[in-house]
Amino acid sequence: MRDLVIIGGGPAGMSAAIAAYEQGVRDILILERDESLGGILQQCIHNGFGLHKFGEELTGPEYAWKYEQKVRELNIETKCNTMVLDITEDKVITATNAQEGIFQLQAKAIILAMGCRERSKGALNIAGSRPAGIFSAGTAQKFVNMKGYLPGKNVVILGSGDIGLIMARRMTLEGAKVHAVCELMPYSGGLARNIEQCLNDFNIPLKLSHTVVQIHGKERLEGVTIAQVDENRRPIDATREFIPCDTLLLSVGLIPENELSKAAKVDLSPITNGAVVDQDRQTSIPGVFACGNVLHVHDLVDFVSEEAEIAGKAAAAYIKGNTGKKVEIPVKTDGKVRYTVPQVITVKKDITLYFRVGSVYKNVRVNVTAGDKVILSRKRPKVAPGEMESVTIKAELLENVESLTVSLEVL
């Protein structure tokens, strides 16, 4: 029996482990499928991490190293090259690695920190052939940054998620020509700073309301046909344009990797594709917590670390027997706010609600209502789907509250 097993040794898993340790838990095991800790940060060699958490601009590997050092210093046990195959409702974990074979562990508490994966081309069903040269942006990032190979010289990127924008710059700096970034929506899903420093700096056009409608090429990609889309996101035939290229990178969204959560029968949200959690990031199964991109996709690793600390602390409390649920306040949303995390409040304390909106709105008021009473209202000059928002509710505001709704009022 292990006190705490953490699935995933990326930023979420490491941060959760450290937080649990600091609360007095000593029997902690991190299971990591890759050969080293750090998760996807290892291939994110660009800067821009840690400003919020450490007050300095770090690259991905540097950010990961800060946590890895701490994990080592605290002597927290880690098993790398170890893949978890199954988790049961009773917290029995089945995992495999080359040294031990397939083995099982019983845990008192589990923290799910498996991260997310990129949406694949299959989910898009672009017409045309199936040649080599079509990659998710993250795969290309791995080839370029970790393996030292360039997957192509003439590139079109579909989707303006941050990884796609970052790869536009990376491939340009490594000698490729990026011809365009096409974004289906009328706004980018990436951060404004990345559009500026990854596209504008290199004169790479960002084509909003555009998509790839056809893939050409028998063996290796020879080009793509792009087209503008109308307000219903349907391609406009008259705007079809052929761009010769040997590479198509896809940056069309991230999906939390919840296969193990499903195996454990954790309740999942159809909107976040992650677990439904309370303010402690505890899932529908007591003692099973989730944090980081496996819970919902974050824009910034700094917030992943913060969320993981909440989960780590709560897991420590659970292990010590502080498991009492006091209330059950569901947090609902209106149509404009897509989701919140947490989705339920079980203890009346100061609580930060993280949320995402469904579209770009300017000049809005975020309202948190209990029944028909607005208990909190915050103005925002602009909100966008690509940028996570948050509001903090003081404990005293939760007196006599039975349910909360987070809504957006366009002023």
Binding site: Q42, I45, H46, N47, G48, L51, H52, E57, L58, T59, P61, E62, W65, V144, N145, M146, K147, G148, L173, E174, L191, A192, R193, I195, E196, Q197, N200, D201, D299, L300
Partner: protein
């Protein structure tokens, strides 16, 4: 003259409006912090960028690197040429200077390579 910029200092990505008198920055609006104002001034007079890439290891593999401070934006390509030619011998530790005095910065390792 008025110039619009997107601040790249932090993920907030503030939309900045800069009032210019010739090349002199008179006023910066839209920033949430003093670093934004500084960015705007630099961007209008001497735009700078941090460059990140990889350097080949003599005994196999790559190590990720960065300029330890931003360099003039127009020097990015030249900086990449230097990075592409460079070779380093493992072991390399985070923070090790691999190339020094590159357009006012040092190229440092951002990864440990034992």
């Amino acid at each position: 003259m008025e110039k619009k910029l997107t601040c790249i200092v932090c993920p907030l990505g503030c939309q900045l409006t800069v009032q210019l008198n010739g090349r002199e920055v008179v006023k910066v609006e839209g920033n949430t912090c003093p670093r934004g104002a500084e960015y705007a001034k630099n961007e209008c007079t001497n735009p700078q960028r941090t460059v990140t890439s990889t350097i080949r290891c003599e005994n196999g593999g790559l190590v990720s690197v960065k300029t330890d401070r931003p360099i003039p934006k127009e020097k990015m390509t030249e900086c990449m040429q230097l990075i592409n030619k460079a070779v380093v011998k493992r072991p390399v530790a985070i923070g090790d200077v691999i190339l020094s005095d590159v357009f006012g910065s040092n190229i440092v390792a951002t990864q440990n390579k034992p």
